[in-house]
Amino acid sequence: MKGAYLSCRGVSLQVGRHSILHHATLDLPLEGLTILRGHNGAGKTCFLRALMGLLPLRSGQLLINGRPPVKARQHCGYMPQKADDTAPMLPVISHVMACLKGTHWGIPLPNRTRQKAKALLEETGALSLAGKPLGVLSGGERQRVALAQTLANAPDLLILDEPFAALDPKSHEALLQLFARLHQRNGTNLLITAHGPLKTKNLPLPIREITLKEGTLHV
């Protein structure tokens, strides 16, 4: 099982005039499923973006597994709140293939990449969608494809922003089961944001909740 932990040392994070974190210092294990909560506008998305190195800190040091975000992100998968929808006319499989070693130069071997993409789609239960254009998928289907894309770089830590948004309760459960499966099979740890209650009681993985409130992370 891969370990994961987050370390904040005097972290201040600000977006415009809005202070998200104010001199936050904490060490937080991210084993299993960690759920970040907070009211609308508390800055959950900004905090996740800072973890991915997409938002600069005002001061302090943020470390994931002992490494700063820009180095740690190669081992992290990030799923934004709103999945990218820039090319709805292209088939799902092409969207997943594009994420496989997408930061490397050159042209990939198409057959090998296709097989890997299919394996990712199978893992998230979306293989049947491979040939469909992305634009015709439902919210739940799109979420499963987005998760397959996020898994493309075999991350140790998945950072998912509101993965349950726009999903019905049945899909909530299916997604939680998928998280548990990913943790058990690949040792993937997850940090997610969520609003409503989640049925996590019988999930076979460690679960922790943290709250972002008034510039402080409450564990």
């Binding site: 991915m52 190195g53 997409l54 820009v70 992100r73 190669q74 992290c76 990030y78 799923m79 934004p80 999945a83 990218d84 929808d85 820039t86 090319a87 709805p88 006319m89 292209l90 088939p91 499989i93 092409s94 969207h95 594009a98 994420c99 070693k101 997408g102 930061t103 490397h104 130069w105 050159g106 042209i107 990939p108 198409p110 254009p133 634009g135 015709v136 894309q149 996020t150 493309a152 770089n153």
Partner: protein, 282 residues
């Protein structure tokens, strides 16, 4: 006595070869530009190149050299504007401003070089029948450089075009990649303008690519389809203009629209109307 055939004349052989070269470029780069929603840039780049060509005419340089230089400079500055998802309006504003400024400079250059006004028509409408050996060699070099660049950038470019959030989270810079891509697109636009002219060269880039995207093909198949479409337009247009005495750009631009309508007709029967509506909404 029978009429001589199309291929008996060296200038027609050169024209077919030139059309083949620019179809390779126009089809592939055009597909990528449409995928990245840069149709306006595809329209602007050859016009910016036109200004460079006008300056080259004035300064007694080969027009293609001026066209390449100006397109690349335009592409560089257009690419400097953030290519991210949050700034499409800003990006188009920059493209529009560069286009306006370069056209103004182009008109001034043509005014200064008014003794070469016949070249203006050539720059605007292309001169596929006037391609000589050295120009073809230069075109082949441009095509090779562009395609090599596209091959090198292929993975990160596709990644950031299809999944910008994930690509940025993995450390790719949309601005830098956008800039590199627009430099390649500028080269391609200059090469295409040599055949179809600055006014209509973007129809060779946009027409077949829009049809290929409409067919919902994967990137590889989409580009192959787009290149074949560009080849059909340019070679078909060449044959039609030979027999009809109507300029090639006319056939290319109308053919591009025809290809798109054909793709629409093909796709109409493929998806139920509700799904088609959903794609259009997106």
């Amino acid at each position: 006595m029978s009429e001589p055939g199309l291929f008996t004349f060296p200038f027609m052989q050169h024209a077919f070869l030139g059309c083949f070269l620019v179809s390779l470029l126009g089809g592939s780069l055009g597909w990528l530009m449409l995928l990245r929603r840069q149709a306006f840039a595809a329209h602007a780049l050859p016009h910016i190149g036109f200004s460079g060509a006008a300056a080259a005419v004035w300064l007694h340089f080969p027009p293609l050299v001026g066209m390449v230089a100006a397109s690349m400079a335009g592409g560089f500055f257009m690419g400097r504007e953030q290519q991210g998802r949050g700034h499409p309006a800003q990006r188009d504003t920059m493209t529009g401003l560069i286009l306006a400024a370069s056209l103004g400079i182009g008109i001034w250059c043509l005014h200064e070089a008014n003794e070469a006004s016949s070249q203006t028509t050539t720059l605007l409408f292309g001169d596929v029948l006037g391609l000589d050996g050295p120009t073809l060699g230069l075109l082949a070099g441009l095509v090779a450089a562009c395609l090599a660049g596209v091959a090198l950038l292929w993975r990160p470019l596709l990644f950031i075009s299809l999944c910008p959030s994930l690509a940025e989270a993995q450390g790719l810079s949309s601005t830098r990649l956008g800039q590199l891509f627009l430099l390649l697109a500028a080269l391609a636009a200059a090469a295409c303008a040599e055949i179809a002219g600055a006014l209509l060269c973007f129809s060779l880039m946009i027409g077949p690519a829009s049809a290929a995207l409409k067919l919902e093909l994967s990137p590889f198949r989409g580009i192959v389809c787009s290149v074949l479409g560009a080849l059909l337009l340019s070679w078909g247009g060449l044959i039609l203009s030979w027999y009809s005495n109507i300029p090639l750009p006319f056939w290319i631009s109308l053919g591009g629209v025809g290809l798109y309508l054909l793709a629409c007709a093909l796709m109409k029967g493929k998806l139920p109307p509700s799904k088609i509506r959903k794609i259009h909404q997106n």
